[in-house]
């Protein structure tokens, strides 16, 4: 077994977690290992830091409650990404229904968030790219973020989103073309 902190493999962390005396310790290591990756994944979807923080907390609370029954059918990080993705998409859906907003207005609202976000340090081109991303349907935006920014493999994305590699490739290329079109005309 690995010696210190996050040198532990996921398998080792899960074994530690199942030991009731070291459950808290193991979970803390899992959080430390994945918090940043999950946070950025969520933040790129919801844009606002406070929303991302809430979603990240909910993600790990759900993981804490569900980890006992996690049997490792998928990798731990895939499982966490999936929880986080669902949480983020549900959050955006609630935002839409709570204010009876059409999708376009949710994107408009997110776009305004970008303009006023104190935790955004983007140059003009980057801001334009973020606005271009907001013109995409949420799932397409999600695929684009995971492939383009996180440079994840299609196979891993397919695992997380439970879809086929072929569908992901088509979605990604479609997203790229739409973004390029937006950047050309704005």
């Amino acid at each position: 077994m690995a010696g210190k902190n996050n040198d532990y493999t996921d398998k080792e962390l899960l074994e530690l977690f199942r030991d009731s005396e070291r459950k808290n310790y193991a979970f803390n290591l899992i959080v430390k290992k994945y918090q940043e990756r999950i946070y950025w994944h969520v933040r790129k979807l919801v844009l606002d830091h406070n929303d991302a923080d809430d979603i990240l907390q909910n993600t790990f609370i759900k993981a804490w409650n569900g980890l006992e029954g996690f049997r490792g059918a998928s990798a731990l990080y895939t499982w966490l990404y999936r929880i986080a993705t669902n949480e983020a998409l549900t959050f955006l859906k609630h935002k839409k229904t709570r204010y009876f907003l059409p999708l376009v207005d949710v994107h408009k609202q997110l776009s305004e968030t970008l303009e006023t976000d104190e935790y955004l340090n983007a140059d003009e081109a980057q801001l334009k790219l973020q606005k271009a991303l907001l013109t995409l349907p949420e799932k397409q935006r999600l695929v684009f973020n995971m492939k383009y920014f996180d440079e994840m493999k299609y196979e891993d994305i397919a695992d997380i989103l439970k879809t086929s590699v072929g569908a992901l490739k088509a979605s990604y290329h479609h997203a790229v073309r739409k973004i390029e079109k937006y950047l050309t005309h704005h």
Partner: protein
């Protein structure tokens, strides 16, 4: 062809934009996150305000609610079965009959209340003859003279 080469071909404007993460986070955010999370998780496991106060008081609240329910039900039943009709609606003769039936169980004060109530109710309709029948002075006199209840009833009739 790599993914990035492909992007350069199909989306040159996109590939010219810096790929850096433009988002920032508050200082120390990731350092504090796990302890904040831990507080939230274990805070849920220790009783919150609801569990601590409301659930503890629940048996007492239920008992109090039951007592109130019993009192209200009792009052409703009492009113249904034992509540006397408005005495002001009765005629003098009816009151006299009522009193004569239970004369020995009714205090003088109760009788006076009945007579006064009857007086007020009949105030609007009374004639000269009625006035001669019974006045407050007569009643006071009878009481002052310690006249027997039966005599008072007779006087009313």
């Amino acid at each position: 062809m790599s993914d990035m080469d492909e992007i350069k071909n199909i989306a040159p404007k996109l590939s010219n934009i810096k790929k850096e993460n433009p988002f920032k986070i508050p200082e120390g955010y990731f350092d504090n996150f796990s302890s904040r999370l831990s507080e939230k998780i274990h805070g849920r496991e220790t009783p919150g305000f609801y569990e601590k106060h409301v659930l503890t008081l629940k048996p007492y609240l239920v008992a109090a609610a039951l007592i109130v329910a019993v009192i209200i039900t009792g009052k409703i039943l009492y009113n249904m079965f034992y509540h006397e009709s408005n005495i002001g609606d009765l005629k003098s003769s009816e009151i006299a009959d009522l009193i004569s039936e239970d004369a020995y169980y009714i205090s003088e004060e109760s009788i006076m209340d009945i007579i006064y109530a009857n007086d007020i109710a009949e105030e609007d309709n009374k004639t000269d003859d009625d006035n001669n029948k019974m006045t407050n002075e007569v009643i006071d006199y009878l009481i002052d003279e310690d006249i027997d209840l039966i005599d008072i009833i007779d006087a009313i009739n």
